[in-house]
């Protein structure tokens, strides 16, 4: 648990960050809360000769809310997400999910940007961002661009972000309707055995919109269009929920680990999604 030697930088603006990335190329990594990267460095599974800490970069911890849109700076911590009254009111699913990430100590440091950018299939926020149709703002030497969370993840730790780009903000429409983030884990601090993010809009007693995303059941988060389709237009009765679960099961591809074999994970995925849909519907 002793990392290899590295140079540590603490720039105060994005220009400084980008300059360092330009200068050191593959040898540099930016760090937000550090709760994924530092353990990997200590295990010597990640070699980062140049570590760029974003803590002092001005403006990255802002939250802005409008009637239609929420923008979270990349350095907004899970702790802030849980305790920001306006944000909690606008998008309570963020709080429900953040409360299931790690423990309070980690949440003081852990950021939404780090959680989303890293591409770790175990992280909770990527699936949630897909559920909420968030757009990720990346800044690189060519300037700024946006990419949909639903298009961002390519494989475990492989994302659309180029090495010289930095995720600076996440923007999402204010979620409508009922919500639920349901997660089964072995213990506090664990990744999900299976987790489901569900947002359901209701009109005339029927499901008007549905968005279902699953976490840690594939090497990327799984936004299940088939599950959404199975719900829309229904009264969210047990048969519809069953159909949505069946559709979701067609989209996930869990692998065996210490949390259990594939059959168990698929079963639990169905259970957590059923519970999430029912809870979201009850709140819609």
């Amino acid at each position: 648990m002793i990392p290899a030697a590295f140079d540590y930088y603490r720039p105060t603006d994005m220009a400084g960050v980008l300059a360092l990335l330009q200068q050191h190329g593959d040898d540099a990594r930016v760090m937000a809360g550090g709760h994924s990267l530092i353990p990997m460095m200590k295990l010597r599974m990640a070699e980062v000769p140049h570590l760029i800490d974003l803590q002092d970069v001005a403006g990255l911890d802002q939250i802005s809310l409008s009637a239609e849109e929420i923008t979270l700076g990349a350095m907004v911590t899970q702790h802030t997400i849980i305790n920001h009254p306006d944000l909690v009111q606008a998008a309570p699913i963020l709080r429900e999910a953040a409360l299931q990430i790690a423990d309070p100590q980690v949440r003081y440091m852990g950021t939404i940007g780090g959680n989303v950018a890293n591409g770790d299939p175990g992280n909770d926020m990527p699936g949630l961002m897909q559920c909420l149709d968030a757009k990720l703002t990346l800044v690189g030497p060519e300037g700024e661009r946006q990419v949909a969370a639903r298009d961002y993840y390519e494989a475990a730790y492989m994302t659309d972000r180029a090495d010289d780009e930095v995720l600076v903000a996440i923007t999402m429409p204010v979620p409508q309707g009922g919500f639920a983030y349901e997660k089964q884990k072995r213990k506090i601090g664990d990744y999900a055995t299976a987790a489901a993010a569900v947002q359901i809009g209701k009109a005339d007693g029927k499901v008007a919109t549905a968005s279902v995303a699953m976490t840690n059941l594939s090497d990327v988060p799984v936004w299940s269009e088939a599950a959404n389709a199975a719900l829309v237009g229904t009264e969210c009765a047990p048969e519809a929920v069953k159909a949505a679960v069946a559709a979701m099961l067609g989209d996930i591809d869990p692998s065996e680990d210490n949390r259990g074999p594939v059959a168990f994970k698929r079963h639990v995925a169905g259970v957590v999604l059923t519970r999430a849909i029912n809870r979201a519907w009850s709140r819609a």
């Binding site: 664990d190 055995t193 168990f264 639990v268």
Partner: protein, 805 residues
């Protein structure tokens, strides 16, 4: 005397003696970050060691190239077995009569085995250099299954080739270590053959790990000028370490000083001797500088002593009415690559022969076969006396299985088989003499408190509701009644490497009436500085607040065998009381002199001696202490000191009754503990608050083991649970509220009647949690399923029973 003179009750309360819920004196420093642990030891010029470890579970080491590592600035040395061989330190003896490689000598036998020791002037450079040591391995076939090991042609321990006799008798196979048999097998089989009912079950007690918060480490400092070696380390038995170090190194014992500073939990993990200790010593001798070695969490989980890994096959016979007539147990014990179990020498399977439990079983047999595999060595008593968790789990599962076989209530089955109060002292079929117990009273109290009948009625309703499809949660009522065997032990049959398992206390009363006492034990969180002062306070009439307790420095403390197996209170606690009584005996003579009466005319009264029949004439212990040093008393030496070495006449046998109520979600496999009731009888209670803390901690470690904590290997011998992400260490989040209760049945042979409690909750807790899980499925036909009961295994149980269809 006047109204302001404290009365007897007030004087007793002021002592903060036995029975007082005195706050732990250790906590002020621990809660303020002022502890002093091994890693806090920093000496001028200190070097740092780090290990190159094997990535393979079984491989030949063809060559080791140190050149690149030695070329790194700051690297001082890279030690291999070749370097240690001239000192004959490339192997070391284990506590179990085997030997173990300090550094890989030609081959490695488990993943994480120590291959080379890098020494550098900086901790970070040492870690960098580890990566630069090039080791050429040739992979060999890996065996992680002990049954396969006993069939395999693959020889794991080539160093033992041709040795058909081991430390504990004949070896049947090149991967076999020992056979240990207790009891009468022929007689047991005879009972089984003619029994009305026989229940059989095989169970695996999985491999787990004590995982103390502080990992293991040491700092060795060889002073070449005065020839003295000082060794700080995470040692549960510092005096034994000193003796072993003297025997191994050839340094005379008076020139070795071993210091166990504050220790952040041991739970058996810090009893053994590890290669890191030896390497830090050798490196200090070679370099002439202090050398520190502290392992990280992954190294701790992967390479230091594991616990359990017992494959147990049981047979229990009974009459149709449920009276048990016999018990047969065979264990295949997976000891890993070396036999490094920490047991008293004559007990290669520890006290597994306590497996008749709390029951009056007329005839029994236990056979244990120890086996080598490609896993880490160990087999320590993780928060229990030697192999007692295994024994109690075994019998408490066999009772449940027998209850199923008899279609009987498991609480009632226990009740009709308990050893009766009037049978104590009771000699069990496998030889142990239980000192005292009142099991029926404890059991009845427990069942009444939890409303056992009500729980069973609720459970029956729940089963019906489940069958009707109204709920997906089942309810389990876990029972366990355990008898621990602690306080090893009588020197006549208990020794470690030939050192008798007595313990000791030395007391000095200072002239102004305060005191210091030193013991041969060492606290790792048990609160010795608090409780031993309380024993003394009651014995010598000096307030516990005026008594310093010191342990762990072999230069100052009297020799003792250390702290594990709940032995501190039964053995060192007894020595403390007896040393106190020696103080009191001399104090009585001094008091009589001061009061100008005959010795027999004064009597001890809380904190003073009073003239019999004239309580207004007294001499306080404070007065006596001052006089002991400053007054010439005819016939008495000056001073007030005593030392006692205590060889216990027997073990002590704490017991308890536990009940766990659990709800299980059959769809997710998630268990929810609704209630946990723990009644402990540890004899005389010294500090109720510390007992409660010990019970909470032991139960939490029991919860861990029962519900998920394991060291798992894949077929190639890779450790799958090497970090705390996968190795389950419960936090406050996972832990339920515990209800604690007690009865008091003093030990008849212990000076203060105390029995030891630190490990009881673990011993009784594991089967209680496990029984709760298994009981939930009893109505659906489950007989037995192995721990750990993590989500997927519980789900699998439900699945196999068709509960997901």
């Amino acid at each position: 005397m006047n109204d302001l003179t404290p009365n007897r009750e007030e004087r007793t309360a002021n002592l903060k003696g036995m029975g007082c819920a005195r706050k732990r004196v250790e906590d002020a420093r621990f809660t303020q970050g002022q502890g002093n642990y091994v890693d806090d030891v920093k000496l001028p010029g200190m070097l740092h060691g780090d290990f190159v470890r094997s990535p393979y579970a079984h491989a030949r080491v063809k060559s080791i190239n140190k050149e690149a590592a030695l070329a790194l600035p700051g690297v001082v040395a890279v030690l291999t077995a070749e370097d240690l061989a001239p000192l004959n330190l490339h192997w070391m003896p284990t506590l179990a009569g085997d030997k173990q490689m300090v550094l890989a000598d030609g081959k490695v036998l488990f993943q994480g085995q120590e291959v080379a020791f890098v020494v550098a002037n900086d901790r970070y450079i040492a870690a960098d250099a580890v990566e630069l040591v090039e080791v050429d391995y040739e992979e060999l076939p890996v065996i992680t299954d002990p049954f396969e090991a006993l069939q395999s042609d693959v020889v794991l321990r080539e160093d033992l080739a041709g040795q058909t006799e081991g430390a504990h008798g004949p070896r049947k196979h090149h991967n076999h270590i020992f056979t240990w048999e207790q009891g009468d097998e022929a007689a047991t089989n005879q009972v089984m053959d003619s029994a009305e009912v026989v229940a059989e079950e095989s169970m695996y007690y999985h491999r787990t790990h004590p995982c103390p918060l502080e990992t293991c480490g040491s700092v060795a400092s060889m002073d070449k000028v005065n020839g003295k070696l000082t060794l700080w380390g995470t040692f549960q038995a510092p005096h034994v370490v000193r003796t072993v170090a003297a025997l191994l190194s050839g340094i005379e014992e008076h020139n070795i000083r071993v210091i166990s500073p504050d220790i952040g939990g041991g739970f058996g993990n810090k009893v053994g001797v590890y290669p890191g200790y030896i390497c830090s010593i050798v490196a200090s001798i070679v370099t002439g500088k202090p050398v520190k070695w502290v392992e990280d969490r992954m190294e701790n989980l992967m390479s230091t002593a594991f616990a359990r890994d017992y494959w147990m096959k049981g047979k229990i016979s009974a009459t149709k009415e449920g009276k048990i007539t016999g018990l047969h147990c065979h264990v295949t014990a997976d000891h890993g690559g070396f036999d490094a179990c920490a047991d008293p020498t004559k007990f290669p399977a520890g006290f597994m022969n306590i497996c008749t439990g709390s029951y009056d079983i007329p005839v029994a047999y236990l056979g244990v076969d120890g086996v080598y595999t490609n896993k880490a060595p160990g087999g320590v008593s993780y928060r229990c006396s030697f192999r007692v968790t295994e024994a109690v789990y075994f019998i408490e599962r066999m009772i449940e299985v027998l209850a199923i076989e008899l279609d009987m209530d498991a609480a009632e089955l226990r009740r009709i088989n308990f050893i009766k109060k009037e049978q104590f002292p009771y000699t069990a079929a496998l030889g142990w003499e239980y000192d005292s117990g009142d099991y029926h009273t404890a059991w009845d109290k427990a069942l009444k408190t939890v409303d056992y009948e009500g729980l069973r009625a609720e459970q029956a309703e729940r089963v019906e509701a489940f069958k009707r499809g109204e709920t997906r949660k089942l309810m389990g009522v876990g029972l366990s009644f355990f008898t621990e065997i602690v306080g090893a032990g009588p020197v006549k049959n208990c020794d470690i490497l030939g050192m008798g398992m007595f313990d000791s206390c030395e007391i000095r009363i200072h002239p102004t009436g305060s005191a210091i006492a030193r013991l041969g034990t060492i606290s790792q969180g048990q609160g010795h500085a608090t409780t031993f002062a309380q024993i003394l306070a009651s014995e010598i009439g000096i307030s516990a607040d005026s008594i310093t307790i010191e342990e762990g420095d072999t230069d100052t403390a009297p020799y003792g065998l250390g702290t594990y197996g709940s032995r501190s209170t039964p053995v060192a606690g007894a020595a403390t009381a007896l040393a106190g009584r020696k103080i009191r005996a001399k104090a009585q003579m001094i008091a009589a002199y001061l009061l100008e009466v005959h010795d027999d005319d004064v009597e001890f009264d809380v904190d003073r001696f009073v003239v019999k029949g004239a309580p207004e004439r007294f001499s306080t212990m404070k007065d006596i202490a001052y006089a002991a040093y400053n007054q010439a008393i005819p016939g008495l030496e000056p001073g007030l000191e005593a030392v006692s070495y205590y060889d216990p006449p027997n073990m002590t046998y704490p017991f308890g009754a536990y009940v766990c109520v659990m709800d299980i979600d059959v769809d997710t496999g998630v268990p929810e503990i609704r209630r946990f009731y723990a009644l402990d009888d540890c004899g005389t209670r010294i500090n109720p608050m510390i007992i409660e803390g010990q019970v909470h901690g032991g139960l939490t470690e029991a919860l861990a083991v029962a519900l998920g904590q394991e060291i798992a290997y894949d077929d190639l011998g890779n450790v799958k649970t090497g970090t705390l992400m996968d190795f389950f260490l419960p936090t406050a989040w996972e832990v339920p509220n515990y209800e604690t209760d007690f009865t008091v049945t003093p030990s008849p042979h212990h000076p203060i009647g105390a029995k030891g409690v630190g490990e009881s909750p673990h011993v009784g807790g594991v089967p209680c949690f496990s029984n709760a899980v298994q009981d939930a499925f009893r109505a659906f036909g489950l007989r037995h399923t192995n721990m750990p009961h993590d989500h997927w295994r519980i789900w699998q149980t439900a699945n196999k029973l068709g509960l997901h269809d």
